[in-house]
Symmetry: C2
Subunit: 354 residues, 2 copies
């Protein structure tokens, strides 16, 4: 009898050990939390072949300062109890307004010599989302995306229609000349007669031009955990230099370049957009957490170093979970990136080795 009891005991210990082992990576619960003292925020300003020798000390300083300014803005808003979606929009506006990044004012030129911008925002609490593609006259594409999310039943509007929606909803419209930037134009002139943007990615360096490569995958993004435990993400981009045919990349596509879900994480991607679309990158990070019980960093690394690598894709992502953990993997030589935590700890990085 004693033997039988012992056997049953060990049987259940076995079941318990096995269950614990298989489920040990479950860290995220769906329970609503109210982490009043916890919040955090991460940003990216694009991934690419960013090497120290290609960036002057002055330019490097300018990038670091602009990222700090954006992080500081987000920190102040979060500390005052502002919502994740409001913070995402405000932070991305700062990056869009800077010609340093390939979004808004710094957008690159398409093959047709136009600035065609894409952006998306998503609320992890409600799964509401808004996005614009191929817009040319909206000063802050992220604000148009936000207005679509808040004030319409649509998710993705494009081109002239999206611009009309923005105008009807008092989102600031500017002349296309606002987006002109001499450096971007010079960069465009150098590559416009090449037949494809893809060729550049096939080269060993992935460069359009060694001195301009930092712009190659330029995109800006922001992921936020607010003091109410809600997640949000946003992405904004001018796309790839010399893109053609009203190409739409991954940034405005919910699931590909942008995704947020309070159950799991908020994600914003940067890289060769078509590859991120094929692996539905941002949603895959979330799915690995929700269905495979991976923790944030394991899921984010799986997407960049395995899924993206399998199709020879290049780029990176930033992601945040409901505990405020942040992950920022990339497989290029650099990614403009940074984060700030509730305790004020703020860091910005550019190169891989940082």
């Amino acid at each position: 009898m004693k033997m039988k009891l012992n056997s049953f005991l060990f049987f259940f210990i076995g079941v318990f050990c096995c269950h614990s082992f298989l489920c040990q990576t479950r860290e995220i619960t769906n329970k609503p939390t109210h982490m009043k003292s916890n919040f955090s925020l991460a940003i990216h300003g694009g991934a690419g072949n960013i090497l120290n020798r290609n960036l002057s000390p002055e330019k490097e300083e300018a990038y670091r300062n602009k990222m700090k300014e954006a992080l500081k803005k987000g920190y102040d808003m979060l500390a005052k109890g502002d919502s994740a979606v409001n913070v995402v929009e405000a932070v991305i506006k700062i990056l869009e307004d800077s010609p340093l990044f390939n979004a808004g004012k710094g957008a690159v030129f398409s093959h047709e010599g136009r600035n065609e911008m894409d952006a998306a925002i998503m609320n992890g609490k409600t799964l509401d989302a808004g996005a614009v593609a191929n817009v040319r006259t909206i000063k802050n594409p992220i604000s148009a995306a936000s207005m679509i999310m808040r004030n319409s039943n649509f998710v993705l509007l494009s081109g002239e229609g999206a611009e009309r929606f923005a105008k009807n909803n008092n989102v600031e419209i500017v002349d296309t000349a606002y987006f002109f930037d001499q450096n971007r134009w010079d960069e465009y002139l150098k590559v416009k007669d090449s037949n494809s943007t893809k060729l550049d990615h096939d080269s060993s360096t992935g460069m359009v031009n060694p001195t301009n490569t930092i712009d190659k995958f330029g995109t800006v993004g922001c992921v936020v955990l607010d003091t109410y435990g809600n997640l949000a993400s946003g992405t904004s981009t001018g796309g790839t230099v010399n893109k053609k045919y009203n190409r739409i990349g991954d940034s405005p596509l919910i699931g590909a370049g942008t995704y947020a879900n309070n159950k799991t994480c908020a994600v914003s991607c940067t890289g060769h957009g078509e590859d991120f679309i094929k692996i539905v990158a941002a949603h895959t990070v979330s799915a690995l957490m929700e269905y495979k019980r991976m923790k944030l960093s394991t899921a984010a690394n799986e997407v960049i170093f395995k899924k993206l690598a399998e199709i020879k894709g290049r780029g990176g992502l930033i992601a945040i979970d409901r505990q405020g953990n942040i992950s920022m993997p990339f497989n290029t030589s650099g990614m403009f990136r940074g984060f700030v935590e509730a305790n004020g700890n703020m860091k910005v990085f550019i190169y891989k080795e940082e």
Copy 2:
């Protein structure tokens, strides 16, 4: 000693039982298979408030015959060893060319009185994909999507740019007048002064007009398993009646309305597009299979009856796995749908109770 041995034995039995239980739903492997004698194919022609009393016997017969014609075409191609992606394109072309369905020739009118069409195709073997959004002069949007997949480094092209790409690549261009259909125009005139397409979904019936509701979520789609064990999917649509602002729905978005991956399944969705975008519906079916080891029907049902229901979304999907299993769940009163198997078994359905 005997007790100890027994205890260890029971411990390992416990571990084994637990592991078997947790993994019992794994049915799909990543091993390449060559099911020369196995293939199958499913199609949909849109989900919506399709009630027997709204459809005359003649119209019902016309729908069933057109679906059978499309299935027969796909069957013949597959039996001859044609590839999944070729079959998806050919089958969808038949549905696009018919004014019965809201895609190609039968596309509904946008608020601006235009036919603005979206389509996507994806190859589950390579994850290559192609898509068009807001095209107005391409006779078969699915063929333009296919050409983008096969002959460019892009995934998604839109508007006039997508049309230029199609023209440059010898995809058939037609005058916008080709898409005019008197019934669609009359339907459009009835709703054009309503301010939103969303209002209709908020009504208890989800109807624009009781007699026209079969068109409400009109979209066509096709999922295929070919004789080489490869999967592919495609979707084509005219979007929602009275849509505004160059709205893009879920159909051309890889992961939302269309997805295929040889590891798991091929999926094509139909319904209120914005909801399918928010839950990244097609990719979620795949993710549930890959990461949660669900079988196809369990995963497809989870997406339609749980994920979509949670955000009060309406619609359906068709999905196929590498064993040729087919799942076609929907939460509306009907969905035009059908399948054919390698043994020639062909079925078409319209209403829920069939």
